[in-house]
């Protein structure tokens, strides 16, 4: 591979020596021993007193003296001494009388006793770039000759190739090691995320962590505390790499332990913060939302330490409200006192969205960021979807917005949606799987609502009938659709209003289905097609709307 170029006029002794060195270079030695070998070979072939090798440190752009293990590191800039001249010109410098040469600098050309006579300074060059410098001094029989120059050059050519290769393999090895460590850190980080979301009655939760290529410091957690309370966490440790991933993993672990020990929110916050202050390097911190959702009081009590904006979608106003962090990030400093947690009420249909900055700060090719506007637009449009589907829409939105721009930061989203389950609400809503098997649950849902409202039993059968017809139509005509179907029930002024919403479908106006002539004799009657005819007979009013890929059918029915 690294064949020696025959150089004119080289003595066979010199050639043999060079060949020997080259052979050694091919063996997998570590760099220091190889450099020592090169130095020794150069000294021997050129019959010199001493040989030294300097290597260029690509990071600092300075030359570093090798072979000085155990001694303070010596380095030199490229403008000092004969060393510098060699490095800058990438040419051999042959100095017959060092003490008379003004370019000679005893400090870097290593003449501590002012007795160096002559010097041959040879650059190691690979692909026209400097790799290092070989300096040999004090030839036994007077100044270095032209043949010496060629011998040294030949030696240097071989060495440069080796050194360069060594640099590359070591940086490759470093990268591989780092890569393995990052993968490991990522696995640890992922393993702490909840594998399944709790399903507290009346609430719908969804959480997802989408890592960027490099490990970031995002995490989230949902931990049931008792029948009615859930602990909610979203955290983002500053920086990228293994450190933040482990910081956030450590925080999650500490929180789980503290919660298991029954600590209250303020105690948990204080202890974990103080521990992070102690553990984290000074410039690091963790932004975090720590909250407790009480599903019977419909409130979230929380601390948002540098974590914000928090999304509160209010169903009644159909608008997104953005809440600021309540305090500074965790791990900065110990708190002398801590305010009571902030309180947030969730009305039926409301959504609390914990979203890491990776989503808001996601940029497109024009350098614009997705922002709260991007999130709000999707939430206002799709808030009726089950939380897992809304979450998918948000990620899709970020992805579409960014286009070809790679995801720069982790994106983590935790959505907490309150369903319209409360008995005192005028309207309730629930999602049902697109399957005939959902019918029992649907009938129960209708029955429970009518019971809770003390609505006359006479409505039960016709309402179930109409809902079943509309629902089974949706199932039949879009069997492959993955979206659940929303059913909402409202009761105002004795009138029951029922609405079914089918997502991601083509329009089909049930109010325009062809009428059925029920007076025809049996032979002419079709077996199907009766459903929509009967629905129109039985409902007091029925309305069909289509927008944004969604069919909404609303009907009313009054008792009697």
């Amino acid at each position: 591979m690294n064949d020696i170029q025959p150089a004119a006029g080289l003595s066979s002794a010199a050639l043999l020596k060079i060949l020997e060195v080259t052979r050694k270079l091919a063996a997998p030695f570590d760099l220091p021993s190889v450099l020592a070998e090169i130095g020794e070979a150069a000294r021997e072939v050129l019959r010199a007193e001493r040989a030294t090798i300097w290597l260029l440190d690509p990071q600092s752009g300075r030359l570093t003296l090798t072979g000085m293990a155990g001694q303070p590191r010596l380095d030199a800039s490229l403008d000092q001494g004969i060393l510098g001249v060699t490095a800058r010109t990438l040419a051999v410098v042959n100095v017959p009388d060092c003490q008379a040469d003004p370019r000679f600098d005893p400090a870097v050309d290593l003449d501590y006793d002012n007795d160096v006579r002559c010097m041959l300074s040879v650059p190691f060059v690979e692909h026209n770039a400097l790799v290092g410098v070989l300096q040999v001094v004090d030839r036994a029989d007077g100044p270095f000759t032209a043949e010496d120059e060629r011998v040294a050059e030949t030696l240097a050519t071989q060495c440069a190739v080796f050194i360069q290769r060594e640099h590359m393999t070591s940086s490759l090895r470093m990268a591989e090691k780092l890569d393995r460590e990052i993968k490991l850190a990522r696995e640890i980080q992922m393993s702490t995320l909840p594998s399944e979301m709790p399903r507290p009655p009346g609430y719908d939760l969804a959480g997802q962590f989408c890592p960027a290529d490099q490990t970031g410091g995002d995490t989230f957690d949902v931990v049931p505390l008792d029948e009615e309370r859930l602990f909610l966490l979203l955290g983002d440790a500053s920086g990228h790499g293994i450190g933040p991933a482990l910081s956030s993993t450590q925080m999650t672990a500490m929180l789980r332990v503290a919660l298991r020990l029954g600590a209250d929110l303020n105690a948990v916050f204080t202890h974990v913060n103080n521990q992070l202050v102690e553990d984290l390097p000074e410039e690091h911190f963790v932004t975090a939302f720590l909250g407790v959702l009480d599903t019977s009081r419909h409130e979230v009590r929380y601390h948002a330490a540098g974590q914000g904006p928090l999304l509160h979608f209010r169903a009644a106003e159909r608008e997104c409200r953005w809440l600021d962090p309540t305090t500074f990030p965790m791990g900065f400093m110990c708190y002398p006192t801590l305010d009571e947690p902030r309180r947030l009420e969730l009305a039926p249909g409301d959504i609390l969205g914990l979203i890491s900055d990776g989503a808001f700060e996601s940029e497109n090719a024009a350098g614009q960021s997705f922002g709260t506007e991007g999130v709000a637009e999707i939430v206002c449009r799709d808030h009726r979807l089950p939380m897992s589907q809304l979450l998918a829409k948000l990620l899709e939105g970020v992805h579409d917005f960014a286009g070809k721009v790679a995801q720069a930061d982790d994106i983590t989203i935790l959505l907490i949606g309150r369903q319209g389950e409360s008995a005192d609400a005028a309207t309730v809503q629930r999602y049902f799987k697109r399957s005939f098997a959902s019918l029992d649950a649907i009938f129960q849902y209708v029955e429970d609502f009518l019971g809770a409202k003390s609505i006359d039993g006479g409505l039960r059968e016709p309402v179930c009938f109409i809902v079943e017809e509309l629902f089974t139509n949706m199932v039949k005509y879009n069997p492959g659709n993955q979206h659940d179907i929303a059913l909402s029930l409202g009761h105002v002024d004795e009138t029951l209003t029922v609405r079914l919403i089918d997502f991601d479908v083509a329009p089909f106006d049930v109010t325009r289905a062809p009428p059925v002539d029920v007076t025809k004799p049996l032979e002419e009657r079709a077996i199907g097609g009766l459903g929509l005819h009967l629905v129109r007979q039985m409902a007091d009013t029925i309305r069909y709307e289509y927008a944004d890929g969604r069919s909404t059918i609303t009907f009313t029915k009054t008792p009697g």
């Binding site: 005939f436 019918l439 009938f465 017809e469 049996l522 199907g528 039985m538």
Partner: protein, 98 residues
């Protein structure tokens, strides 16, 4: 729940809720009865259009051999549906005593 079986006097007895999910079960049973006649709906609380389809299909088969289904003990709500669907014209429907 939905239940369908033969009664003691050779009548077909349906009970519970005959919705779209149960319709296949009803149809399989009805298809297996060689000469269905009386269908007792006293225990039937609910019928959907899929259930109506099953009855209609059976009636077509039975009428071909010159007979017909007799739907008896039909509750008020189901009777309304039969009426909306024009079933009172093609079946013999007997309402339950109020």
């Amino acid at each position: 729940m939905f239940e369908i079986r033969m009664g003691e006097a050779g009548e077909i007895v349906m009970k519970g809720r005959l919705d779209a999910a149960q319709c296949e079960k009803a149809l399989q049973f009805l298809d297996a009865v060689p000469e269905p006649g009386v269908v007792d709906l006293a225990g039937l609380e609910y019928v959907s259009s899929a259930g109506l389809g099953a009855l209609l299909k059976t009636q077509k088969r039975v009428m071909a051999s010159g007979r017909g289904l007799r739907l008896v003990n039909v509750n008020r709500h189901i009777h309304d549906i039969f009426r909306y669907a024009g079933f009172d014209r093609i079946f013999e429907v007997v309402r339950a005593a109020e």
